[in-house]
Symmetry: C2
Subunit: 152 residues, 2 copies
Amino acid sequence: MPYASFASMPCALGRPAALLGERWTLLLLRQIFLGTRRFEDFQTTMAISRSVLTDRLNVLLQEGVLKRVPYQDEGRTRHEYRLTEKGRDLYPVLMALRTWGEKWMAPEEEESFHLHHRDCGGGVRAKVECTDCGAELTARDVQVTARVNSDG
Amino acid sequence: MPYASFASMPCALGRPAALLGERWTLLLLRQIFLGTRRFEDFQTTMAISRSVLTDRLNVLLQEGVLKRVPYQDEGRTRHEYRLTEKGRDLYPVLMALRTWGEKWMAPEEEESFHLHHRDCGGGVRAKVECTDCGAELTARDVQVTARVNSDG
DNA sequence: GTAGCTGAGTTCGAAAATCGAACGCAAGGA
DNA sequence: TCCTTGCGTTCGATTTTCGAACTCAGCTAC
């Protein structure tokens, strides 16, 4: 099975994992959540090759994570890449990565940007909870039950 | 900047994004959370090439996400790959991916495996919350403030 | 002891992905 | 008309990945 065919695997975790697990895609989404919207800015801040950047943007457009939005730049029409609702909904994924990174990959008190709740100024944290009782869950609290096939 | 050098970028989101954004790594973690622990089983269930599997396992070992644990198999000692505490802490990342996948990438009522809270049987969901007031947050509720440099 | 089996890699040539530098192009402006 | 800018495309060189074969250690059977 080539890597690309995971895009059609029957698993609600596997498909996103394959999509976002392509090289550059997570870093690209990070940059977008930080506010970058233009081809040129992605290319210079990430130092990604232009052809790969084109490809990754197109994949995310096709998946409906991004959309191209026209805007006026000194009288002429240009386009920028913006998150769709589907794309904005990836926020918990990025925040979960950041929460993990702060706990396990931060060398010291480094913090290149700070996030806080607009309303109350509090910090931001990803967590997993039970939809029923509301308890916060870890891997140990969750039972996996296979439904269709063993590779889930 | 080659892709690999993101491993040392000064960003608590960028470093994990670069680490888990390597091809196969997210799918490998998914497989581990589903219970796979042995080289041979990874190789056959994921259809990844053996050399790349070796490389990805070694990276995760080196990062302290996985550990090699000896066990007895018909009298002889073998090793299996298991999550460390750091690795188990990636659970919210995987759950955030799955929560997103169920909402946005599920073709129908497909569900290849089911997750539920051991104690009460409820469903499992990732979310982002304010550490202060406890409110559930979306990207729009969060303010980003640069600290060191603009590329975050 | 020696032949076979199995899990866990390693090796290596072919194919695919990525890089980086140059090129193309459309829409203004000078 | 020529210049600039943003946004790609193209293409040869390099790096990754693939896939099949090979190695090796520890057992089992004979």
